[in-house]
C-alpha cells in the first residue's frame, strides 16, 4: 500500500455530513465530498442540535470563567483592551459567517456597527434611560432592519460589485450623521454614559472575588457575556441547517437552486444575522468607548474587520476570536514599536494600518485560507488521508 501524500488524496472525509467543519472557501476549493457510505460513520449522535448546543454552551461557560479570571487579575489597561475585544468579537464573528460561510464580502459592516452604536447612544441620552438590555435589543433590531434592506440589495451582487457597493455605504453613511447634525451630534458625535453595574452584580462579584466592581470592569463583563452569547448562537447556526444552506449557496449557486434553495432569501438571512451581530458590537462599542461618532466608523474600521476575518480564516469562528484579539492587541504593540524606532506619534499610528494592509496581501498570496484555516485544512487533509488506510484501502 503506497503512502499517499496529503495533497493528492482528498479521500472521503471520515466524519459524516457536511456540517462537520467550516471549510474555508477561497484559494483551491478542497470540497471534501461527504461520501458517507464509503467510511464507517461515527456512532450516530442523538438529536444533533441538543448535543451541539450543550457542547458549545459548556465551551462558552469555560471561556467566561477564563475571561473573568483575566478581568479580575490584569491591569486596568489590559482590562480595557479586553473590553474592546468584546465589542469586536460579535462583528468579526458575524462577518466570518457572512463572508466565509456564505461568500458575501462586505465592507459596510463598520457602517452597520454605527447604526447599533447610534441607536444605543440616542436611547441612553434620554432622562431616564431604559435598562441596557432593552436598549441593546432595540439596537440589534434596528441594525437588523437596515441589514434587511442592505442585504436585499447585496443578495443580487457578487464579488467586486458587492465590495464596491458596501464600500460606498461605509464611506457614505457617516454623512448622515453630519447632515442630521442636531440629533446625531455631527462631527463630534454623541457622548454616551454607559450603564453602571446593577447592585446584585456588585454583590456577587464582591462575594466571589473580594474586589469591588469598577465601572469599566463591569463593562468588560457585560461585553464578554454578550459576545460569548453571540458566539454561541452563531456557532449553533453554523452547524445547523442554515449553515449548510449558506455553504451550499456559496459553493455552487446553480446546484443549490436546482436543489430548491431560494438563493435570495438565504443570502439575505446570512446578511441580517451578520448585521444583527454587528449591531451588538456597535452597541458595545458605544458604551465601552463612551462615544458614538463618525470618527469611530471610518473605512479603516471596515478594513480592519476584514483583516480580522482574513487572518482568522474565512469561515472559522475561532479564527474570528483570534482576529479580534489581533486587532486589539497588535495595534498598540505595533504603534509602540514605531515610537521606539523614533517615529513621530502620527507616523507610528500608521504602522498598524500599513502592517494590516501588507498582511492582507501576504495572507491572500500565501495562505488564502487564513492562518487558522490553513492549519485546519492541513489537519483535515491529514485526517482524510488516514481514513482510507484505516479501512484497509
Amino acid at each position: 500500500m503506497t503512502s499517499s501524500t496529503p495533497e493528492s488524496s482528498a479521500g472521503p472525509d471520515a466524519r459524516s455530513g457536511v456540517t462537520a467543519q467550516d471549510d474555508a472557501p477561497s484559494g483551491g476549493k478542497t470540497t471534501t465530498t461527504p461520501e458517507v457510505s464509503a467510511s464507517p460513520a461515527p456512532e450516530p449522535k442523538g438529536p444533533r442540535i441538543t448535543s451541539t448546543l450543550l457542547k458549545h454552551s459548556l465551551l462558552m461557560l469555560l471561556a467566561f470563567v477564563g475571561i473573568a479570571v483575566l478581568l479580575e487579575t490584569v491591569s486596568p489597561f489590559r482590562g480595557s483592551q479586553l473590553a474592546a475585544m468584546a465589542y469586536y468579537v460579535p462583528v468579526v464573528a458575524g462577518l466570518t459567517v457572512l463572508t466565509g460561510l456564505n461568500g458575501q464580502i462586505s465592507l459596510g459592516h463598520g457602517a452597520l456597527m454605527a447604526v447599533g452604536a447610534y441607536v444605543t447612544a440616542l436611547m441612553l441620552e434620554t432622562e431616564s434611560p431604559l435598562p441596557y438590555l432593552v436598549i441593546l435589543v432595540a439596537s440589534v433590531i434596528a441594525t437588523a432592519l437596515v441589514g434587511v434592506v442592505v442585504g436585499a440589495a447585496a443578495s443580487r451582487l457578487h464579488g467586486p460589485y458587492l465590495a464596491g457597493a458596501t464600500l460606498a455605504l461605509a464611506v457614505g453613511l457617516p454623512g448622515l450623521a453630519l447632515y442630521f447634525a442636531d440629533t446625531l451630534g455631527g462631527e463630534e458625535g454623541i457622548r454616551v454614559s454607559p450603564p453602571s453595574a446593577p447592585a446584585w452584580v456588585e454583590d456577587v462579584a464582591f462575594f466571589i472575588t473580594g474586589n469591588t466592581m469598577s465601572g469599566t470592569k463591569y463593562l468588560g463583563y457585560l461585553g464578554w457575556v454578550l459576545a460569548l452569547f453571540v458566539l454561541l448562537l452563531l456557532s449553533n447556526l453554523v452547524r445547523s441547517r442554515y449553515g449548510r444552506l449558506w455553504r451550499a449557496v456559496r459553493d455552487d449557486e446553480i446546484a443549490a437552486e436546482l436543489a430548491g434553495i431560494n438563493l435570495g432569501r438565504t443570502r439575505v438571512l446570512a446578511f441580517v444575522v451578520s448585521a444583527a451581530a454587528a449591531g451588538v458590537g456597535g452597541s458595545l462599542l458605544a458604551i465601552v468607548t463612551r462615544l458614538a461618532g463618525p470618527t469611530s466608523f471610518t473605512i479603516v474600521l471596515s478594513i480592519f474587520l476584514l483583516v480580522a476575518i482574513v487572518i482568522g480564516g474565512l469561515g472559522s469562528l475561532l479564527g474570528a476570536v483570534l482576529g479580534s484579539a489581533l486587532l486589539v492587541f497588535l495595534v498598540p504593540f505595533v504603534t509602540n514599536v514605531g515610537l521606539d524606532a523614533g517615529l513621530s506619534s502620527s507616523q507610528a499610528a500608521n504602522i498598524a494600518p500599513l502592517s494590516f494592509g501588507v498582511v492582507l496581501i501576504v495572507v491572500m498570496l500565501a495562505a488564502p485560507q487564513g492562518v487558522v484555516g490553513t492549519i485546519r485544512l492541513k489537519y483535515l487533509t491529514r485526517q482524510a488521508s488516514r481514513s482510507p488506510r484505516a479501512q484497509g484501502g
Binding site: 464580502i105 464596491g164 500608521n350 500599513l354 494590516f356 494592509g357
Partner: protein, 292 residues
C-alpha cells in the same frame, strides 16, 4: 438660474476628472477582470511624490510628469508582484488584495509624507473668469483640468483603436487564449494595462489636487465615485466611463449645491444600487449578460 449654470459647469469639470478615474478602472477591468480598489491610493501616492518635488524647487510640470511616470511604474509593479498570483482563482481574493493595496499606500503616504493637510499649487489662475459682464464660476485651472482629461482620453482612444499595440491589448483583454495563439504576449499586455491605468489614475489624482488640498485620504471618495461612474458606463466601455463620469460629476455637484455636501456619497450609492439592480451591464455594456 445663475446657480444652475455654475453648478452645471462645475459638474461637467468634476465629471471629467471622475471620468478619467473611471477610465483607469475600466482599463484594469478589461485587462484582468479585476476592480482595483487601491487605484485611488496609488494615485494619491504619486501626487505626494510630485508635491515633494515641487517643495524641492522643481517646476509644476516636471512634477506632473514625475507623477505620471511613477504612476505607470507603480501600476506595473503592483500587477506583476501583488495581483498576478490572484488573477485567476476566486474573485474575493483579488478584492481583498486590492483593499490591502489601498490601506497600505495610504498608511505609507502618511508615514513618509505626513498626515497634515497640505495645499498643492495650481498651474493656472484660480479666479473665476468673466465673460463680458458675467462672472462665470469657472477658473482657468478648471479649464486646464478639462483640457488635460480630454487630451488624455483622445490619446488613449487613439492608442487602442489605431495602433497595433492597442489591438494586442484589446485582444488580450477579450480573448486571452486565442491572443496567445496569435503571438500576443498576453502577460506583458496585462502588466501594460495596469501600468497605463496607473498613469491615468495619477493624472486624475494630480488634476484633483492642483489648486486644492491634499492629505493621505483625499482620494477615498474618488474611488467610490469612479467606481460608480465605471459601473454606470458598463465596466467594459471607455465611452461609458466618460458618460458615467460626467453624469456622476453633475449629480454630485447638484446634490452638494441644492441639498447638502454630506449626502453626496449616499447619492452616488443610490445611483450604484439602482444601476446594479436594474441594468447591471451599465448603460453602454458591450458584453451580452453581465453577472454582477
Amino acid at each position: 438660474m445663475q446657480q444652475f449654470v455654475n453648478l452645471t459647469l462645475n459638474g461637467v469639470i468634476l465629471g471629467a476628472v471622475y471620468a478619467a478615474f473611471a477610465l483607469t478602472l475600466v482599463l484594469i477591468f478589461r485587462a484582468t477582470r479585476i476592480i482595483n480598489f487601491g487605484q485611488g491610493a496609488q494615485a494619491m501616492f504619486t501626487t505626494y511624490i510630485a508635491l515633494t518635488l515641487i517643495e524641492r524647487g522643481f517646476s509644476y510640470w516636471l512634477a506632473f510628469l514625475a507623477a505620471l511616470v511613477s504612476g505607470f511604474v507603480i501600476g506595473a509593479v503592483v500587477e506583476r508582484v501583488i495581483v498576478r498570483p490572484v488573477e485567476t482563482g476566486p474573485e474575493i481574493n483579488a478584492v481583498i488584495v486590492t483593499l490591502g493595496v489601498f490601506v497600505s499606500f495610504i498608511a505609507l503616504a502618511a508615514i513618509l509624507f505626513g498626515n497634515t493637510v497640505q495645499s498643492f499649487p495650481a498651474p493656472f489662475a484660480l479666479r473665476g473668469i468673466s465673460v463680458g459682464e458675467v462672472n462665470v464660476a469657472i477658473t482657468p485651472n478648471d479649464i486646464y483640468r478639462l483640457v488635460a482629461v480630454l487630451i488624455a482620453m483622445v490619446l488613449l482612444l487613439t492608442l487602442f483603436r489605431f495602433t497595433s499595440l492597442g489591438l494586442q491589448l484589446r485582444a488580450a483583454a477579450f480573448g486571452q487564449e486565442v491572443a496567445r495563439l496569435l503571438g500576443v504576449r498576453v502577460s506583458r499586455m496585462l502588466t501594460l494595462g495596469w501600468a497605463m491605468a496607473g498613469l491615468f489614475g495619477s493624472l486624475a489624482g494630480i488634476l484633483i489636487a492642483s489648486g486644492s488640498l491634499v492629505f493621505p485620504n483625499y482620494m477615498d471618495g474618488i474611488v467610490v465615485f469612479g467606481f460608480v461612474a465605471a459601473v454606470l458606463g458598463g465596466l467594459d466601455s471607455f465611452i461609458g466611463a466618460v458618460v458615467g463620469g460626467t453624469v456622476l460629476g453633475l449629480v454630485t455637484t447638484y446634490v452638494a449645491g441644492y441639498v447638502d455636501a454630506s449626502l453626496v456619497t449616499l447619492a452616488a450609492l443610490a445611483i450604484l444600487v439602482t444601476v446594479l439592480l436594474l441594468k447591471p451591464g451599465g448603460l453602454f455594456s458591450s458584453s451580452v449578460a453581465r453577472k454582477v
